[in-house]
């Protein structure tokens, strides 16, 4: 039995590598991933499809083994103390893990019994979780008759029966409608705040990570590209984005010249009739920008100021927009990158 050096870390990951060997090619899924998760916090592991998120989760849950590197969960080494790790974790994989021909109660009771709870304690815990997740009315119906959102909640509830220390949620809301997703978000938020659970959440929804996670780790091509709190990452972009839509796109060249001479306007780009730039303080920068354009007689269709989004963060550190990364990962499943840069910028 081994313990981590820092007892506050519920998960430590260092230099994990993993290569899958298919018939005629090798797929480098992980290329030196490392991060830690503090106890009682939610970590969002973020990245496009094929970035290596699920591989990390499979190694941490002992389902798979890394080629090299070390990882501990709840103080136990995933390679040497797999038995202890499995007792300490709950795991909700991307695929449904309940028995569709069992009722909600039967699924939950079986989970409890597998972790050594008595039949009576399992039943009590099952009723408690059904109540908590708003599933009590459906508890005695076969799970295959439930809606997708209810089934996903059952998956989460089953992973909580034995009161784990660390919960792994692998893309928990993929495929859910917006209402069910918001519903599940509320439950996940409560897990960390009320129960003191450590949660590792993978997602390819930036919005989801922003909403739920205290810390983010963005991975791409099997490496960590950046990590930090959502706020710090966004602040790291230094400044707000402003966008100016000109009423007449032929004015764009003149407008670029005018804004280029204004102080504090950076990263000025032009896209047909729309100008985009970054400024320190959007609210303060807007009046001089509008005044300068007005003085030159240019008419404006719209002006917007926006705080940096996680999409901007992704664009900044992964070097491409999130959607584009998802597409390229989908079209090139081997997941190898154009270059091997992995600047780890902790904010």
């Amino acid at each position: 039995m081994s313990t981590t050096t820092d007892p506050r870390s519920a998960i430590t990951v260092a230099d994990l590598t993993k290569t899958y060997r298919a018939r005629d090619r090798e797929v480098r899924a992980l290329d030196g991933v490392g991060f830690t998760v503090d106890a009682g916090t939610v970590l969002g592991l973020l990245g496009p499809n094929g970035a290596g998120k699920s591989t990390v989760v499979k190694i941490l849950t002992t389902l798979s083994q890394a080629d090299s590197g070390t990882a501990t969960v709840a103080g136990y080494d995933v390679r040497r103390d797999g038995r202890h790790v499995r007792r300490a974790i709950g795991y909700v994989s991307q695929k449904p893990g309940f028995d569709p021909l069992g009722t909600g109660v039967e699924n939950l009771v079986l989970s409890g019994r597998i972790y050594g709870m008595s039949p009576r304690a399992s039943r009590g815990r099952a009723e408690e979780l059904l109540e908590r997740f708003g599933l009590a009315d459906a508890g005695r119906r076969l799970a295959r008759t439930w809606s997708g959102g209810m089934q996903r909640k059952l998956d989460v509830a089953m992973s909580l029966v034995h009161r784990p220390h660390v919960l792994f949620l692998d893309e928990p809301t993929t495929g859910l409608d917006p209402e069910a997703r918001a519903d599940l978000w509320a439950e996940i938020s409560r897990l960390a705040s009320d129960d003191g659970l450590t949660v590792l959440l993978t997602t390819h929804y930036l919005e989801e990570a922003d909403h739920l996670a205290q810390r983010l780790v963005i991975v791409d091509h099997g490496r960590v590209v950046v990590s930090g709190t959502p706020e710090a990452l966004k602040r790291g972009l230094s400044g707000d984005a402003i966008a100016v839509d000109l009423a007449d796109r032929d004015d764009a060249d003149r407008a670029v010249g005018i804004l280029g001479r204004l102080g504090g306007v950076r990263e000025l780009t032009r896209d047909v009739g729309t100008l985009r730039a970054r400024v320190d303080d959007g609210a303060a920068a807007l009046p001089p920008v509008m005044a300068a354009l007005d003085a030159a007689g240019l008419r404006l269709a719209a002006v917007t100021v926006s705080r940096p989004s996680l999409d901007d963060v992704y664009l900044r550190y992964a070097g491409r927009s999130f959607d584009a990364a998802a597409e390229s990962a989908a079209s090139r499943p081997d997941g190898t990158g154009p270059d091997g840069t992995s600047a780890e910028v902790a904010a």
Binding site: K58, T61, T62, L63, S64, Q65, R83, R86, R87, I89, Y91, S93, Q94, K95, P96, G97, F98, D99, P100, L101, G102, E106, L110, S111, R113, I114, Y115, G116, L142, D155, M158, S159
Partner: protein, 258 residues
């Protein structure tokens, strides 16, 4: 150890619950053997009149053989449970829980054995109703059930191993097509060894299907030779345990694939 037994029981209950809620599946696996029993029983009725067959009622001879075939055929599909569990997230959930691989295998084999017991009793009763006559008494029936269960475990373990290695339902078709039928015809299930070509009779001595059929028929006869029964059951037991151990190792292949 006791934890593993508890897990085996819980997983067996889960499988049997699934089966109980799909009773059509059990009925479906019985259609084929009952057709064999009644069709072949009629078709080859006069085969017993050949000199040297050694029995005067073909249904009495054939019924234990059909029991053995039924056990093999239904056990050959046991891996379907693992494939469904892998396609869904159930296998991943089980493997990240305290459940051991041995318990997962044992749970599958135990629930398959329960199915085989039910099927065996149904085929035997239909055989008796159709005219088979068994002199062996209750002990003979118990041996028939034991032989069918052990042979079922051999094939269920094989099916589970193929499921874990190949992870495709289609691969299981190979077991019934390329293994079960040839092994049946290379055994004394349908025809007494004295009437077989010599090479088939030789091969059948190494055929687990033949072990089960011989033990069953012997135990059901008026004066069983218990050394024959015990020897064949012993061989089946060793083979079943060996296959179960090998199949449990196949979890490693699945783990490398995830």
């Amino acid at each position: 150890m006791s934890t593993s037994l508890v897990h085996t029981r819980l997983l067996t209950e889960r499988s049997l619950r699934t089966l109980a809620r799909q009773p059509a599946y059990l009925a479906f696996t019985l259609v084929q053997p009952l057709v064999w029993l009644l069709l072949f029983g009629q078709l080859f009725r006069n085969v017993v009149e050949l000199p040297g067959f050694g029995s005067d009622n073909y249904l009495t001879y054939l019924t234990p053989g059909v029991v053995v075939m039924t056990a093999m055929f239904s056990a050959g599909w046991a891996g379907t449970g693992f494939i469904v569990a892998m396609d869904r997230g159930v296998m991943d959930r089980d493997l990240t829980s305290p459940v051991s691989r041995a318990a997962l295998m044992a749970g599958s084999l135990t629930s398959q054995s329960a199915t085989v017991v039910v099927q065996t009793l149904i085929v035997m009763v239909v055989g008796v109703v159709a005219g088979a006559r068994f002199d062996g008494g209750p002990l003979g029936w118990i041996v028939v059930v034991a032989a069918a269960v052990l042979l079922g475990c051999v094939f269920a373990a094989l099916s589970n191993a193929v499921a874990l290695l190949v992870r495709q339902q289609e691969a299981l078709i190979g077991i019934s097509q390329f293994l079960v039928l040839p092994l049946t015809f290379l055994s004394s299930v349908m025809l007494a060894p004295s009437l077989m070509p010599e090479w088939v009779a030789d091969v059948s001595r190494f055929n687990p299907v033949d072990w089960a059929a011989v033990a069953s028929r012997e135990a059901l006869s008026a004066a069983p030779d218990w050394s024959v029964v015990g020897g064949r059951l012993g061989l089946l037991l060793v083979l079943a345990v060996g296959m179960a151990c090998l199949a449990t190792r196949a979890f490693g292949s699945y783990r490398r694939s995830v």
